[in-house]
Symmetry: C2
Subunit: 134 residues, 2 copies
């Protein structure tokens, strides 16, 4: 399987309001899947979470992840990625979640922040990519 995202499917990471379903791994090896907002920096899939959450703890320790990103207008068109978290950073994460709020909600400011919450950005390098649909 190739490790690059086909040009024709980049819309699922950029312009479309697609959710990624992110698979991380629990300490006992069980996969944990959650829907997340998703972004693309040209090389990495970007996911934004908050410190202390289950997926934060999983990705901080176990870097291998899986993602499926379906077209919100056609569930039979999707992009599947096996990848690796190559960077975890708080730098720029608060600004980035506002960008995501703009993309997904049309709002300038992320409205769901909790008091004391520390946002965190996970940069995922694709290792194996598959697609379905056209």
């Amino acid at each position: 399987m190739p490790s690059t995202i086909p040009e024709a499917f980049l819309d699922l990471l950029t312009t479309k309001k697609s959710f990624a379903h992110l698979g991380t791994t629990m300490p006992d090896g069980t996969p944990q899947v959650t829907p997340v907002w998703v972004d693309w920096d040209g090389q990495h899939v970007l996911v934004n979470s908050a410190r202390g959450r289950l997926k934060d703890r999983n990705m901080d320790t176990r870097r291998k992840v899986g993602l499926a990103i379906s077209d919100p207008e056609n569930p039979y068109r999707y992009l599947g990625i096996q990848g690796e978290v190559v960077e975890v950073t708080e730098d720029g994460a608060a600004a980035h979640i506002d960008t995501m709020a703009k993309k997904y909600l049309g709002q300038d400011k992320y409205p769901f922040g909790q008091p004391g919450e520390v946002r965190c950005l996970y940069k995922i390098a694709p290792r194996k990519v598959h697609t379905m649909g056209a």
Copy 2:
């Protein structure tokens, strides 16, 4: 986290045409996430695949799985499940995929079958359940 599916979220497994995003584990430990049709037998989440596929091979060997099932009408309402494949069977699997074609496509017969394909049914017992939305 409880191990039972709240009554109020059973529609995502039964009446709604929700896709489950199923997380299985590759031999090297990487999570693999794919969208699948989903069903509920009253005790288990049912997933139908075909022998030899990646998720078949993963689930046959590594029984721990994760699922997220989002409401097709509201992506902020979803059901997350960590579970275990407690039964893998070909019995009834061919008939079951026709039932799924009826639910998801409104067709009596599954139209995507491949020559020589052997359908297989995976019965997943929920171990940890969480929900978002109402």
